[in-house]
Amino acid sequence: MNWFYYASPATFYGLAGRLAPYFFLLAAVLTGWGLYLGMLVAPTDAQQGEVYRVIYIHVPAAWMSMFLYFIMACYGALTLIFNTRLSGMMARAIAPTGAMFTFIALWTGAFWGKPTWGAYWVWDARLTSELVLLFLYFGFIALANAFEDPRRGDRAAALLAVIGVVNLPIIYFSVKWWNTLHQGASVSFKGTSMHVTMFTAMLVMSAAAWMYAIAVTLVRVRSIILERERRAQWVREAVKA
């Protein structure tokens, strides 16, 4: 398969259109199954009672938020090295979903923290670096849209994503160091021994989050392509069909 065939926005527009529904379907099925397992079948947790069930969306959201930022940085590197147009659009398409997952991770972390630790916001290493990650996402989105020429925005935001992804581990470990320095080792989520159904439910929910992120990104990148190529001839045919 000619790899660069699908790299051109025109052809990718069609491919994304065909793939997106399947990913949405997969996401729905996996979510249904995951929730069934996690919420209806999995037993109560010995220490935390029922509130631990927030884990089925908190952990996948946290994973997705970090992984999507990493993928954005990869697309950014592609944009900087090969100057391809589509990779810049893909990075822009991922950013809002990544920011959403980061916000959900923070929100669910807070609502989980209240009954467990007694406070909505605890300066725990993970939550704090998640908060900084949210600012990195806002920075990416703001920078990408801050220029007249969208290509210029793509390249500047791509470089920011690469700089951000290099700094992310440094931020995480500096916050972890800072956290243990001031409060001693905070309770870690991994303390609770994972019942097998709990673990499978969480994996299934992670896969569901994956499918959802891909589906949403494909749909959003189609809109971005339409916005960028609105004068092109192929757009007229594609839209008419």
Binding site: N83, D149, P150, R151, R228, E229, R231, A232
Partner: protein
Amino acid sequence: MSFPEAQPPALLEAVSLSCRRGPVRLFHGLTLTAAGGEAVCLRGPNGSGKTTLLRCLAGLTRLDAGEVRWSGRPITDEDCAFRESLAFVGHLPAVKDDLTAEENLDFALKLRGVHVTDGQRRAALEQVGLGRRLTLPARRLSAGQRRRVGLARLALDPARLWLLDEPLTALDDEGQQLFRDLLAAHLSSGGVCVAATHHPLAPAGGHAREVWLA
């Protein structure tokens, strides 16, 4: 000035360049060569891509396709060797308001890696008619006088390739004549010049090939 039969080796070669600015494709498959002692004049209506082509030749703007070669070697991204022989004059005269004309010239040449004595600098400024304004902060200079600081830099710059964007703007008749003298000296010593301009570039009797951009 008779032109020798055998074509002198092309110093600057641009092979099938193409570049887009947003949705608009400015030029495609454009090829251009210039040998030592030759001046090429880019003509065309506003927005036809003259400036973008110049910036592509200098390596400022990234090309979508095509390649620019200087004395046979393709220009790479961090190409200090090529830039040692390049003098680029853009729309903006690159003059700092807070510095005097002499300081601006001094820093401009240092940035080009060119070392000249104070005497040479002052002589160049005199040559371009700024002799009495050496200690005046550039803020007080007119647009034409700022351009002349650029001319003084060109006079002292040993670069073999001149890429000039509208070099004659804001220059009065005397200034334009100064520029044409500098250009004639540059070409006669084997230099190459590519300029985007609406004014006639050809020095009296000389020849300047013209490239029209749609």
